[in-house]
């Protein structure tokens, strides 16, 4: 609880000037909803899994909010939540949420990481700043107190994912730093 309280305080500090009224729980709620919404605008290549796996790497920032997702289906499969502490543990995830409170992802190592087979065909989402620019696929960014998306289309396409144009309309498409 104290940990949540810390995050909340941090967020309040960070977002205080713009998102005065934004509550961390509301933000998380929105992000959870967005996570689910991604399943509708993005299509994955067929994976040999029985479930649609949403994986949380590191600390779970959403708490119990995520469990709601397990009652729903995506791509005709029931959603299953997986929690991982290390990236090497990650297997067969459709969506991989990378924690934002951890230290920043090793951006140099990441593309390599990302190309490991374990992360293949996996949508990487994170609230880390400039996540998409640094090789992530979709990054949550706060703009004017609202949760906005940044999408690295190139990465998405490299990973064999296709994305709906509609989603692109509401998102900000960014380009990877190293891949210019």
């Amino acid at each position: 609880m104290s940990f949540f309280r810390v995050i909340l305080v941090l967020i309040c500090f960070v977002l205080a000037p713009t998102v005065a009224k934004a509550e961390p729980s509301l933000e998380n709620k929105v992000k959870v909803a967005y996570l689910y919404n991604f399943t509708k605008f993005i299509s994955w290549p067929e994976k040999n899994t029985e479930t649609f796996n949403i994986c949380i790497l590191g600390n779970n920032p959403f708490g119990d909010l995520l469990t709601l997702l397990e009652t729903k289906k995506a791509g005709g499969k029931p959603i299953k939540l997986y929690y991982y502490q290390r990236i090497s543990e990650v297997q067969q995830c459709h969506i991989l949420y990378l924690p934002d409170s951890t230290r920043p992802v090793d951006l140099a190592a990441l593309p390599e990481v990302l190309v490991v087979s374990s992360l293949k065909n996996t949508l990487t989402v994170s609230s880390q700043p400039s996540f998409a620019e640094q090789g992530g696929m979709i990054g949550f960014v706060l703009k004017e107190g609202r949760v906005k998306l940044q999408i690295n289309l190139l990465v998405l396409q490299q990973q064999g994912l296709s994305i709906s144009a509609k989603l692109l309309e509401v998102a900000e498409v960014v380009k990877g730093v190293n891949h210019e």
């Binding site: 929105v30 967005y34 919404n37 509708k40 605008f41 609202r146 949760v147 998306l149 709906s164 509609k166 989603l167 309309e169 509401v170 998102a171």
Partner: protein
């Protein structure tokens, strides 16, 4: 409206139908177009808006999913190009308004606050479209568009208006093109109608409608013309038949009247009108009774009433009709009641002119009841009148007189001048008698020279007076025939008719008998029958005498009388007398010859009587030789028939020789009339007997007044001057001159003269003055039986 339409001409009707149908179709098109327009505008708008909403809903899924109002707003901006869109609203998953598009004109948003109750609907000219935003079968929001359809409606209506205007122009053009065609349809009908009207108004069936084309109207015209020619033919046939019937009706030689029940003439045929000397139209409305003889009106009315009582019976009457010029015609009328279809009751009167037949039958009846010669009533009719009078008198106290007239000297005229003269005399006597009796008295010729008079309401005194007048008038009447003239006398018997008198036959017998009595008394007299007159009562009519004479001859009932004839100058001579005959009836009554001699002469018994007289006289003379010796001359009457009897001379000779009577003592008296009418025989007769010594005397000389010329040819010894002249010799100078002249002529011719009817000494004295040789009469000696001479 309906009647207004029906008054229109056919052309106007066709025009009205055309105009009305155009207006109707245009109106219908307009209404349909508007409905279609509304429907189409609504539908297409709805579809467009729904498509738009679907598109927007689809486009907005991401914006809604990721709460991106800017994107959502951008999406909605697309609607701004559509002018009809008033507002577009996008609702989020929570049902609250997510974002909206404001129409340019309005400042405030028309969008409801939340999604509750929104649906696709039309609200007047406003279209509201709602479409839920669905993502993966999940409703994540909704889109709501409000569109104002006024503008598209208005545009569409303008478009419709243009279409209607084009249609209208097309209709007007069509109408202008078609109107002349209407005339082509209506003109034949109008022509046909005009022809029909012309035919009906002029009643001239020779008109024909002209055929203009071969359609139904052409057939109609053909049929019409056929019909009219049929009508014309039939009309002509009917007119012919009608004319025939009218000709039959008008020329039917009977009067045909159509009358109402009051006798007012409704119609009459031309022949009938012509009969009445009037025109048909003048007669119409007149009363039939104006043309019926007043005395027949009641008969006619009675007949009409009978007709009304018995509708099926025909009644007939013979009635006199009076024409305009006053001519009376006899008509046999047949009448019956006519009841026509409407129940009106009239009379049909058919009158046949039977005037000629009636006149003929009247003539026959007249001839049957009148004497052809004198025009007077005849015996049969007189009997009827008498019988009626006798019957009538039984019920009243009236008294009438029956007079029987017998002409005294008619025979002379008839025998000397022929029947023509006799007929003329009778005619004239009839006229004389008629002019001397009262108008209402009945004069009849009863036969021969006998007349009868019925004097109505006449006493015996009056009858006597009238009869005496008649007697004197006839006595004074001078009948002239060729160069001769005659006087006639009349003996009149009167029988009074009253309650006590017998029947008609008896009355006639009585009058007849009275007439004979008058004759017997010396002719030219009037005798009244009285029931207690025994002498007259024994007398009977001539017919009875035929049988009595016969019996008298057989049974010797006749007896001989003699009347002395004496010389006027008083010289003494032998006995000179005239033999007379009397009838002695069963009761011993002596009846003078006036009663039976006419009958004897008429029924051819005179010769037999003469023979009886001669033979009986000769027997008597033979039985009385002393008397015969003393006898100077004895005269015997011979009738005219005896003169012409071939056996008479032989009989007389035989009698002379049988009874030895000296012929010079017998003088035969023949009447002037008999001698003249049998002149040839008479001469022979006279010559024959005179040659044997007999004498001849001409009896009743002067009565015929034809004598002087014949006297030369009649070698007689004596002239007996007719007593008619003699008896009035004292008072009548004509008679005196007559007697004087006969006497002197007789003397000049060497004949002796004998005056008859010498009734007194004064006459005798006068005769003596005149120088007449002998005299005979009551004043000298009455007839007595021979034995008493």
């Amino acid at each position: 409206m309906n009647s207004f339409f029906s008054r229109l001409s056919i052309k106007a009707k066709l025009l009205a139908i055309l105009v009305f149908s155009n207006i109707l179709s245009l109106s219908l098109a307009m209404v349909l177009l508007i409905i279609l327009t509304v429907f189409q505008v609504k539908n297409s708008s709805k579809e467009d808006m729904l498509a738009m909403a679907t598109l927007l809903a689809n486009r907005s899924t991401a914006a809604l999913s990721f709460d991106d109002k800017e994107v959502a707003q951008e999406n909605l901006q697309a609607l701004n190009d559509l002018a009809i869109v008033k507002a577009a609203c996008l609702y989020g998953n929570d049902g609250q308004l997510f974002t909206s598009l404001k129409a340019a004109k309005t400042n405030h948003s028309l969008c409801p606050k939340d999604i509750q109750g929104l649906a696709t609907a039309f609200k007047q000219l406003e279209l509201q479209v709602f479409k839920p935003v669905v993502l993966d079968d999940e409703v994540i929001g909704g889109i709501y568009i409000i569109a104002d359809l006024t503008e598209p409606f208005w545009q569409q209506l303008q478009y419709d208006g243009i279409i209607l205007l084009i249609l209208l122009i097309a209709s007007v053009l069509t109408f202008l093109l078609i109107a002349p065609l209407l005339t082509r349809v209506s003109r034949p009908i109008i022509t046909l109608a005009n022809t029909a009207h012309k035919i009906s108004s002029e009643r001239d069936y020779s008109h024909r409608a002209s055929k203009q084309n071969d359609d139904e109207l052409g057939k109609l015209v053909d049929a019409f013309n056929n019909m009219i020619s049929t009508v014309e033919q039939q009309n002509r046939a009917l007119v012919n038949v009608k004319n025939n019937y009218i000709a039959l009706y008008d020329n039917n030689p009977t009067m045909v009247f159509h009358l109402d029940l009051n006798g007012i003439i409704l119609s009459v045929n031309r022949f009938g009108a012509r009969q009445l000397e009037l025109k048909v139209d003048q007669l119409q409305g007149c009363s039939i009774f104006d043309f019926i003889h007043p005395s027949d009106v009641s008969t006619c009315k009675a007949m009409f009433e009978l007709c009304q009582l018995n509708p099926h019976k025909v009644y007939k009457e013979e009635i006199r009709k009076i024409c305009l010029d006053g001519r009376v015609i006899w008509a046999r009328e047949s009448a019956r009641l006519l009841i026509d279809n409407t129940g009106a009751r009239n009379l049909l009167l058919v009158c046949e002119d039977v005037t000629e037949a009636k006149q003929l039958s009247e003539k026959v009846a007249y001839q049957a009841s009148h004497d052809a010669l004198t025009g007077l009533v005849n015996r049969a009719e007189f009997d009827i009148y008498l019988k009626n009078l006798v019957e009538d008198v039984q019920q009243s106290s009236a008294e009438h007189a029956l007079c029987y007239l017998d002409l005294d000297q008619f025979k002379i005229v008839n025998d000397t001048c022929g029947h023509l003269a006799g007929d003329e005399l009778l005619r004239q006597i009839g006229d004389v008698l008629k002019s001397n009796i009262r108008q209402h008295d009945l004069l009849a010729r009863l036969g021969g020279d006998e007349f009868g008079v019925l004097m109505y309401d006449c006493s015996m005194q009056q009858a006597l007076r009238v009869c005496d007048k008649l007697r004197s008038v006839i006595r004074d009447f001078l009948f002239c025939w060729e160069d001769r003239s005659f006087n006639v006398g009349v003996s009149i018997g009167i029988s009074m008719i009253n309650k006590t008198s017998g029947n008609a036959v008896e009355l006639l017998k009585e009058a007849d008998a009275a007439c004979y009595a008058a004759k017997e008394k010396g002719r030219n007299r009037v005798h009244v029958f009285t029931p207690d007159d025994e002498e007259l009562a024994s007398r009977q009519g001539e017919m009875q005498w035929v049988e009595r004479i016969q019996r008298g001859l057989d049974e010797n009932r006749f007896c001989l009388y003699g009347q002395l004839i004496v010389p006027v100058d008083g010289r003494q001579e032998g006995k000179h007398f005239e033999t007379l005959v009397r009838y002695q009836d069963e009761k011993g009554n002596i009846i003078p010859p006036g009663a039976f001699l006419p009958a004897a002469e008429r029924y051819n018994m005179a010769a037999a009587m003469d023979q009886w007289v001669i033979s009986n006289l000769f027997v008597w003379l033979a039985e009385h030789p002393a008397f015969l010796n003393d006898l100077s001359v004895c005269s015997v009457n011979l009738s005219g028939l005896s003169l012409s009897d071939d056996n008479m001379l032989a009989f007389i000779d035989q009698q002379f020789s049988e009874w030895g009577i000296p012929t010079q003592k017998i003088c035969f008296e023949i009447t002037e009339t008999a001698a003249i009418s049998h002149l040839g025989n008479a001469r022979h007769f006279i010559d024959s007997l005179r040659g044997k010594g007999c004498w001849f005397s001409l009896d009743d000389f002067g009565s015929g007044l034809s004598s002087f010329a014949y006297l030369k040819n009649l070698p007689v010894d004596y002239l007996k001057i007719d007593g008619l002249f003699v008896k009035d010799i004292l008072h009548d100078e004509v008679d005196l001159a007559m007697v004087e002249s006969i006497n002197s002529i007789g003397h000049v011719m060497g004949k002796k003269t004998i005056a008859e009817f010498v009734e007194n000494d004064e006459i005798m004295a006068r005769l003596r003055q005149l120088g007449v040789d002998y005299a005979q009469g009551y004043g000298i000696a009455k007839p007595v039986p021979l034995d008493e001479l």
